[in-house]
């Protein structure tokens, strides 16, 4: 059946072309952002819009980045991400392990509580969390910023699912050899959980880096802003200068895109592993 194969081959080719075209369209805003970030301040206001800058103006980057303390923003974002990752991985692993391994009083009630917390949208907690952090003197401090992010019901739930699926033979063997519960957890269970911990850390990092509303309300001074909020306020300040804004946007996006490209396979696996993010 040569005719059918040819038609099928053509269909395959068309589908491949469509896939490539679709991916390129998805990438278009990024390319446009990169191109604009290198344009002259007035070059952008011409019609038809120049698709590539006449001569790349690299100074846009240092100029835009020195207009606001972007270095400080990045440090703040990194600190927030670091605390979030460490906090959520540590508490998630410990609590998930306890739920998966121990028969203890109050287990079902407590787990129901965690499941309930999973359903509470962040926006409902925004105002009271702000008031509590404010009362403790944490507004506009690093401690206030990171305090609410240290634990997530999601990470506990995910680690519980992982430990439930993990065979417990090695742990039992260690217990018979006389290891304490902490030793079993630390030396046996945690090393085995490394892939799950990596996925959890990755998701926690992305979430922390992307978080906007909480850092927006809990920080006030320029020195405490994170990248996301800093970029937004830069946008308000340099409203008419699109190349500057695009340069700031590129700078804000580069770290997270690099992290994504380096860890891409964890993402797909993580979404499959956890039954979706």
């Amino acid at each position: 059946m040569p005719r059918k194969t040819a038609a099928s081959g053509l269909l395959q080719l068309g589908a491949s072309a469509a896939a490539v075209a679709f991916a390129l369209v998805m990438l278009l805003p990024f390319l446009w952002m990169l191109s604009t970030s290198l344009m002259n301040e007035f070059e952008v206001f011409s019609y038809p819009p120049p698709l590539v800058p006449a001569s790349p103006r690299w100074q846009n980057y240092p100029e835009a980045l020195s207009a606001m303390p972007f270095g400080r923003f990045f440090v703040n974002s990194a600190v927030l991400a670091l605390f979030t990752v460490v906090g959520q991985v540590a508490t998630g692993a410990a609590a998930g392990y306890a739920f998966a391994r121990f028969q203890f009083a109050g287990r079902s009630a407590l787990f129901a509580g965690y499941l309930g917390a999973l359903m509470v949208p962040a926006i409902v907690l925004l105002i009271p969390r702000f008031l509590i952090v404010d009362a403790l003197g944490g507004v506009d401090t690093v401690a206030g910023l990171v305090s609410t992010e240290l634990v997530s019901a999601w990470s506990v739930f995910m680690m519980r699912q992982f430990f439930l699926a993990l065979p417990r033979d090695m742990e039992d063997a260690a217990r018979i050899d006389g290891a304490s519960e902490w030793a079993v957890f630390w030396h046996i269970a945690l090393p085995l959980a490394r892939p799950a911990l990596a996925t959890l850390a990755l998701f926690a990092f992305i979430d922390a880096w992307k978080s906007f509303l909480w850092p927006l309300v809990v920080t006030r001074s320029m020195e405490q802003r994170v990248v996301e909020v800093g970029v937004a306020s830069f946008h308000g300040l340099y409203y008419a200068n699109w190349p500057y804004q695009m340069a700031a946007a590129v700078t804000a996006l580069v770290p997270i895109i690099v992290v994504f490209l380096l860890t891409q396979r964890y993402f797909t696996r993580g979404i499959a592993l956890t039954g979706f993010k």
Partner: protein
Amino acid sequence: MSLPPIRLVASIVAAGVCALYAVVTVTLGQHVTARVAYARAAHEALSVARIARTGTVRPPLTVAPLLSMGSVVRVRTELERTYGRAVGRIGVVDRTLILGSGRHRAVVVPYKDADEWDIAGAVALGADVLRGVWTLSLIAGLAAMLACAQGVLAARRLAAGDAAGGHLSAAGACVALLLGSSVVIVRARLEILVASTAIGAASDGIRRLDPTAVPLPSQALATIGIFLVALAAVAAVLASVWMSSARRGWTHRRETWTAWTFLAPSALHMTVFTVIPLLFTLWVSFHDWDLLRDRKPFVGLANYREMIADPVFWTALKNTAIYALYVPVTMLLALGAALLLNRPMRGIRVLRAMVFIPTVVSFAAIAIVWQWMFNADYGLLNYILRSVGLNGVDWLGNPSTALLAVMIVSAWIQIGYQMIVYLAGLQGIPTTLYEAATLDGASRWQRFTRITVPLLRPTSVYLFVTGVIWSFQVFTLVYVMTEGGPVHSTDVLVYRIYQNAWEFRRMGYASAMSWFLFALLLALTITQWRILNRRVEHAA
């Protein structure tokens, strides 16, 4: 001689730990209260300084050494030593001065010399809430640990038949508890004494002031009360767990104890930052809650009534619902993309990554990029539209298209995520089904509608409901791209909540709206569970 049973010793130690805990909680509460009052005094003094605007009082000492001295008494002694004579309290007519800014703000209260003429010195009160609590907690914690260790030791020794050693350890536990609590109490009393002296010094200067005109740094007392109640609740839960595990024997108890130590950090955090806030926001929603005002009167259901009567709220709700419509449209596109990218092909991983990238990147930067894309005169989108012969649109400037523009961006962001989930779903469909259908002569379209679509239904339900829940919480895009405008055409619920709470300073009203949103989303989630569970039952 009969030995005291292990259980009795354990109970005594447990009771002691609880007592110590109670003491710590109460003293911490007093301590914090005093600190807050201290900060309030400082803040009121700040207002005096602003209103009076004298600027003539020059404190002879710099702030830093004053702060390091800590107590008013010592500062006063220091001043008297420096000037060689007694210094008097500040009079009513004198002013209070504020130095520093931000977290290191200090109030400087000038002191007059003995003949009430010259300014002899100044006392600085650091508005540094909660300093010193950590030391207290550390002492209390150390004492409790020591007591516990001694208690366990006592139990072990008694079990081993070493009566004398057991009693010694039990006594040690008691001593540790006693010492711990007395140190805590004495220290807290001292702090409170210092704080109240400081408040006395500061409040002398503010007698002429209308207290309602003074904005406060925070409304702390109610919150801190709730915080302490939370701690007490955790303690009560732990105690009841402990008691209820009693009948199941020593190993069960040990397992319970181990499990709770694993769980304690997250459970405590959940209590303080999830459970309490949930109830607290309900409490706030019944009040006229202005962050900057001291009085927060109870108003009953007035906030909810206002919400129902507020046309902007209904507009926001309508906009949010319309906005959520992008979810099913995006799902169709994502399914198409998943089918396109679910084939063996060179560079398929690169293509998938390209589609997925918008999902991981941050919203604020993306919103700026898209605002530029949507620019009416020079944006790329209108350029493309014009070059194919259509008219350009003022996307974000026109009330009838602004929401659509936000929806387009959201679709662009979400499509990659939904595609990955669909890909996982597609790869879970056994290929044998397709092979059998092909053998039976089913066409490509029939295979799609009869096999792919039905088997993907759980995935679709999941994506739809989570997508809708997610879309009801949209904020960043609106905040950066449109600020709810033009004329409220992109005003959504979360933006309403944000604006009321932080721009109009109406926390009570915003809390009422967030409880409404919570109820709405809860209903959605429960619906999702129902649908998915029904599916599972059918399958089973």
